[in-house]
Structures are given as C-alpha cells and as structure tokens.
Amino acid sequence: MMLAFIILGALTLVGGVITISARNAVHAALGLVGTLLSVGGLFATMNASFLAATQVIVYAGAIMVLFLFVIMLLNANQPVTGRDPVPFVRELAGIGGTLLAGAFVVLAFTYKDPRPLTESAVALRDGTAGAVGETLLTRFLLPFEAVSVLLLVAIVGAVALVQRPVPQPDGVPDTEPAGVLSPETGLIFEAVTQEAVLKERGRA
C-alpha cells in the first residue's frame, strides 16, 4: 500500500510539473490528466472507490476533455510569447506562493496522526456511494448546497458573458416569443424557425 502511495504520489507530482512546464498547451493538459488520474488512484488505495470513480469520470473524463476541446478548437496549443497578458502576474504569483508556503508551515506544525485507515473505512462503510451521499446531505449539507449555488451562479454568469447584445429595431416589442406552445400537447416548445421569426416581424 505504501509502495502504491509512493508511485501514485510521484506520478501526481510529475503530472503537475508537466502541466506547468510544458510549452505545448495540449501536453500541459495531458499532464493535468495524469495528475487527476493519479489522485483518483490515491483515492482508490484509500478504499474510497466511489470517490475514485467519480474523480476519473468527472475530472479526467469530462472536464479535461472539455479543456482539451477548447484548446484544440481555438488552436491555442502554440506557446505563449510576448508580454504577460495579466498585469502584475509575477507579483501576484509571488504572493500566492508565499501564502501557500505559509500554509504548509502551519500544516507541518499542527500535524496530528490521522485516524487509522481501517477505522475510517468502517466509519465510511468502504467509501460506497451511500456513505458519501449520507455524509454530504447531513453533516456537510450547508457547504454542499453553497457549492451547488456557486456552480449555478458560475453557469449563469458564463451564459451572460457570451450572450451577444440583442439589437432592438424600432417598433419590435422587447419580449418576442421565443417559441410557440404546442396546442395539442401543451408541453412542447416548437423551435423558432427562420420563417416564423420573419412572419412575427412582418406582423409587428
């Protein structure tokens, strides 16, 4: 188990180093995938099988694919040259690094022996989905819901950011119906066809 931890920990670090040192954005993303997979492996060695699987599905399987998708779509795999696009980025990185180092120092001085693995495994019932869900929805309910609200805000914000301003020609009402309620089912919105919009405009 110790050996597995050492190997996986080393892989995690190697992936992290590749992520920040690779000149090619795709290689950097692949390094990150390696890191996330190794973290999943670390979860698995701690008998947290549900967490391990979710880590791989969500982070390595979905989020990183989206990262790579964007990199490839924008052809952003060329190395960045020229001036730093963010002002004071070096200074900010220095402050961040100092804070992190301080946090590590605090962590080292306040270190306590964790509960033995077997004991926590019993407490978490081998890390199955049920135990994780129960913990999330009872003890950590507030942080859990706060995070979900945060994610929702992030999604709404992203949509608002990419929305182009709608031009408002004279005489066209502000609230144009986006779809037509189907009279038969009362359920289904029929998508807006170009003809329908033009007709709507002609009427207005």
Binding site: N24, V26, H27, L30, V33, L37, G40, S49, F50, A52, A53, T54, V56, I57, A60, G61, A62, V65, L66, L68, F69, M72, L73, D126, T128, A129, G130, R164, V166, P167, P169, E176, S182, E184, T185, I188, E190, A191, V192, T193, Q194, V197, L198, R201
Partner: protein, 390 residues
C-alpha cells in the same frame, strides 16, 4: 509459493485470456459483420479466403501488421503513438470487471478479472478515458480532417455519457449498489431489470450506440464529410488498434446491457420449469445475450442512415438527457413512496408509459433536433439580393 503470487498469476492469466478472447471475437466480428451486412443488402460478402471466408480475419491481420506504418510529418509523435494504445487499453480494461458467472464457476476461479465495489461507476470511468484515444489521435495527426473528427467525437461522447449515466441511476437506486454482482443477484431474485426500467433501457441503448460510435451516430468517421475522421492519418497496426478498440467497446456495451437489464449470466427463470437448472448454465446465457446485442448493432448499421452532427447533439441534450432525468426523478419518487407490489406495478407502468409516449410523440419531438436554432440578430442578415445567381 505464497498465496498472493498464485492469485496474481491467476488474475494475470485471466486478463490475458480475456484480452485474447476479445481480440479473437473482434477479428471474427469483422467477418460476421461484413457477411451479415452483405446478406442484408442481398450480397454474399467476403467468401474467398479459406472455406466460407473463415480465414478472412487472418488475412486482414497479416495485412495490417505488415503494412507500412506511416507517420505524418506534422504529427506529434509521442501522442500519435500513444493514442491507439490508450484506446485499446481502456477498451480491454473496461471489459475485465464484468462477471461472466457466479463466483468460483471458472474451474474454481472467479470468472472476472477484477471486482470493484464501484463496478458500473468504474466501468463508466474507464470508458470515459477511452475518449482520449480518439480525441488525441485526431489532434496528434496534425491534419485538418482528423482534428474535426476528434473534436466531434469528444463532444459527442461527453454529451452521451451524461445521458448514459443518468439513465442507469434509477436502476442503481433500485438495486442499491453499483457492483455488477449485486445487480445480477437482484435480477435473479426479482426478475430482469428491463421490466422495471424499460425507458432507461431504451435510453441506455441509444446512448451506447453513440458511445461506441456506431451508426446512426458514427459521426466521428463520417466518410462523406471528413474522410475517415480521426483515422485519416493512421495506417497499418495503429489503425487496426483503433478498429479493435471500437469493436471491443461494442462487445463491452453489449455485455453491460445484458448484465444491467437482461439478468447478466443467468438465464430466464421461466425456463427452469421446463429443464431444471437451465438458468444457471455457465457462460452460455451471457454469450447468447452478447451475440444478440451484437446482432442488433449490425442490424441497425444495415438499416439506419447517419444523423447530421447538429441533430446528433440536439438529440442528446434536448431529448435523451431530460427524459433520463425525468425517469430518474420518477423512479426515485416511486421508490420513496411505495413498497411491495405497488412499487413493482408503478415501475412497470412508468417504463411502459415512458416508451409509449416516446413512440407516440416521436414525430412531434423531431422539431427538437431538426429545426435550426435561429439567433435573433441572424434574422437581420437576410441577403438584400435574392439568393442564387449573379
């Protein structure tokens, strides 16, 4: 020898056996698929190499191995070589966790390579890693069409993974475990899962067609639009590895559907009345179910045309995902508020009405993915002159 070395050796042996078995199945799947497709098109199909063409896979393999292995100048060499290995590695690994029989039924050993509590979740995790093979292969080729194919496949697979994962949630709630053994045992006690989760099965079936890149969802390799998609710059054994991965994924998807919805390695219980013990004959039932699903894959390929790409995405996001979500919520409600016979009845009712509604409204729902979405400012872009002709 200590016990753990023996265990390790047995596991290794089983792993190699499963890999070899899958690759042989792949080789003969290509032949069977070509023959069946040909017969459905009233042709004969390949019948020249060996008796009835039975040696055709061998000839194909020899050709693939000894063909020149081209590497494009602009290719990212490392990733270009890694991509097919990732694809086939994930495909083969995914299969290992599926049980082919009860514990100890394989000459005293367990008929699976590894057994995780996370069963289904682990399988989804491994198959989701399989996307990288296709995706990176497309990017590393350093060419236009492969990157388009790779982008398409990544978008498609992420979209349909969601529908796939959501459609089995109801099933997992019913069983209360993600382990394949628990799912199989549950079905042995209460009957096949398809009775309780018909809608989920339909959604899972459609998603697995998309996940394995098979017709009508084989957009990543739509020949008419993007040559061979991510495969364009690949040749020889690397190309063959990608093909292997696709077929192994197909076999895995068939096995998963058999295990989740059709009782896994156990035969139908009503046959027990005719011949006692028939339902627990080893392996035969699972193989028969896999074969049936593989036939379905081929049959669909012979029949259906390919979807347009935007239709594919809309279909996944606007129909599959919401229906899967609704199925999950309703199943959860039924499980929470009913017990015993009423629960069974309600679940059956839910499945049947869900599928009936999908069939009844199939025409009406088509606008969800056929009509193009028009942005309002685009309407102003109507050309001043009538289109066509100068």
């Amino acid at each position: 020898m200590p016990d753990w070395i023996i265990q390790l050796l047995i596991t290794l042996l089983k792993g190699v056996g499963v890999a070899l078995g899958l690759l042989t199945t792949f080789a003969y799947m290509t032949l069977i698929e070509r023959r069946l497709l040909a017969r459905m098109q009233i042709r004969l199909g390949p019948n020249r190499v060996g008796p009835m063409g039975l040696l055709q896979p061998l000839a194909d393999a020899i050709k693939s191995i000894f063909k020149e292995d081209l590497t494009v100048t602009l290719a990212d060499k490392l990733v270009y070589t890694l991509a097919p290995i990732i694809a086939i590695g994930c495909a083969l690994t995914a299969f290992g966790g599926l049980p082919a029989g009860p514990a100890g039924s394989l000459f005293g050993a367990d008929p699976w390579v590894y057994n995780l509590d996370a069963g289904l979740l682990a399988l989804l995790a491994i198959t989701s890693m399989g996307v990288y093979g296709i995706f990176l292969g497309g990017w590393a080729s350093g060419s236009k069409y492969p990157i388009l194919g790779g982008l398409r496949s990544s978008a498609q697979m992420i979209s349909y993974e969601l529908g796939m994962g959501l459609s089995v949630l109801g099933l997992l709630m019913l069983v209360g475990s993600t382990s394949f053994h628990a799912i199989t045992n549950w079905q042995a006690n209460s009957g096949w899962m398809i009775m309780f989760q018909l809608t989920a099965f339909v959604l899972f079936l459609i998603s697995s067609f998309a996940e394995t890149n098979r017709t009508p969802f084989d957009l990543p390799e739509a020949e008419q639009e993007i040559v061979a998609g991510y495969l364009t710059e690949y040749s020889a054994i690397k190309w063959a590895l990608f093909q292997m991965a696709e077929y192994v994924n197909m076999i895995t998807a068939s096995t998963v559907m058999a295990t989740l919805f059709f009782g896994g390695y156990r035969g139908p219980a009503f046959l027990e009345g005719l011949i006692p013990g028939i339902a627990s004959w080893p392996f035969i039932w699972l193989f028969a179910k896999i074969a049936a699903f593989l036939f379905l894959f081929i049959w669909v390929r012979a029949t259906l045309p390919r979807l347009r790409y935007d239709q594919l995405m809309r279909f996944g996001w606007k129909l599959l995902l919401p229906v899967a979500l609704a199925n999950t919520v309703l199943t959860a409600a039924i499980i929470a508020f009913s017990t015993g016979r009423v629960r069974v009845l309600l679940l059956v009712l839910l499945g049947v009405t869900g599928v009936a509604l999908l069939i009844a409204f199939s025409d009406r729902m088509r606008v969800l993915w056929t009509a193009p979405t028009v942005r309002r400012e685009d309407v102003n872009l109507t050309p001043a002159r009538p289109a066509g002709g100068d």
